[in-house]
Symmetry: C2
Subunit: 215 residues, 2 copies
DNA sequence: AGCCGCGGTGATACCCTCTAACTGAATCTT
DNA sequence: AAGATTCAGTTAGAGGGTATCACCGCGGCT
């Protein structure tokens, strides 16, 4: 865990404080959402005053970028852990829902309303590709007897996003629908759009998953 | 159009200015997102200074509430127009996608990341129920030969959200999946999550719609 | 031992929302 | 017609936010 690079006291202190700042930021985000994140409040809660944080993060945007990166990595790790335990697509879906419910604001930070001017750094898209690969693997392991759709043939020519995954287009298509359908239920649930309706969102999620499995 | 209630010059002026404020607000939201909406900037662009807007809206929240209401009503009107032209589920889905792409930030204002402390007023949920009814009607008009799922039986006992719609649970289930699946594709597309992947989101949307139609 | 860099500070500029006191004009009332 | 009232709009200011600046003081390196 302790890298040789993290040897000098100054560096250790620096990374430690950075981590502590992020800790407070997550706390704040979980309760009030990302838009309400305040560097000032974090500083005050840490016992230091305002501009001190600028020694550790160039600004609010860089802090948020870092949090987005961590959130992505957290999801990727969750998927990796589920895959490592031999869980199939169902296990992945279950892990994803648990991850989302564990901290809804973290989910929204990744999959929610984007900030118009903001563009995610490249390494984030790499981590995103990692999660996609997990879904692709799980889908490739499933039997499939559906006829090819027009979209499948379209994917035949637009599959570079699969990062060289050897799966046939039908599997690519299925992976995409896994993503969009689960996200469709999850995001509406977390946003509270099912609040008035009294049905159990978990069952709707399960129904969608079943439909994806028996395809 | 001109109601008798809107007779006095003061009232006419008032509603006119309110409309103008909302106009500027939509402009600002479309370019910078809802979180960047600034009463100050609107006032300056209208040639008056800051606090004047508080004569028309109690605060930022009330303005946003009004915009949310308008957005919902706009979607409901879009659905009503599509239904009026005899369009089926496919027509509704097409209208919804067009509505979303026309102003992505308006879509996010309704279906995007919720503001933690904020709760939508009751009449908004009524308008939302109106859009749901449109989807339910379109689904009820479709043939269905699927076996009932466990979720269907669950819906049997939790159907008050359908506002007395006489459709069987399978139709209720289908309407929910229409909503979640189309939203799943749309929201990810609008949020730019398909940006790196080169496939055409419209085709994925169409594929999901096809799957919903032939169910 | 001495220097330098880094963490931290207060002051400051410029945003924002929102309140309060005030002004001038249009509208209502008598 | 004249007074009373309501209402749009103003400036001033409180309180909070991001972010920059110049300035210290201590820890760590040579």
């Amino acid at each position: 865990m302790t890298d040789a690079r993290t040897r000098t006291p100054r560096e250790r202190y620096r990374t430690q404080v950075r981590a502590e700042i992020k800790e407070h930021a997550w706390e704040q985000i979980a309760t009030a959402g990302a838009s309400a994140l305040s560097l000032n409040a974090i500083a005050k809660r840490m016992g230091m005053s305002g501009p001190a944080l600028y020694r550790y993060f160039a600004g609010r945007d860089e802090l948020i970028t870092e949090l987005v990166r961590d959130a992505y990595r957290s999801l990727a790790d969750t998927f990796r852990a589920a895959s490592g335990e031999g869980a199939g697509l169902a296990g992945l879906a279950h892990a994803m829902r648990a991850w989302a419910l564990d901290d809804p604001q973290r989910y929204f930070l990744v999959f929610g309303t984007p900030v118009p001017g903001y563009r995610a750094p490249d390494d984030v898209t790499e981590i995103a590709a990692e999660t996609m690969t997990a879904i692709l693997d799980a889908c490739a392991a499933l039997p499939s007897d559906r006829p090819g759709t027009p979209f499948d043939t379209h994917l035949e020519g637009h599959r570079q996003w699969a990062a060289g995954h050897p799966a046939p287009p039908a599997v690519l298509h299925r992976a995409l629908t896994v993503w969009t359908r689960l996200h469709g239920v999850l995001s509406l649930e977390l946003a509270g759009h099912f609040a008035g309706m009294a049905f159990d969102p978990a069952l709707l999620y399960a129904a969608e998953l079943d439909d994806l499995l028996e395809r």
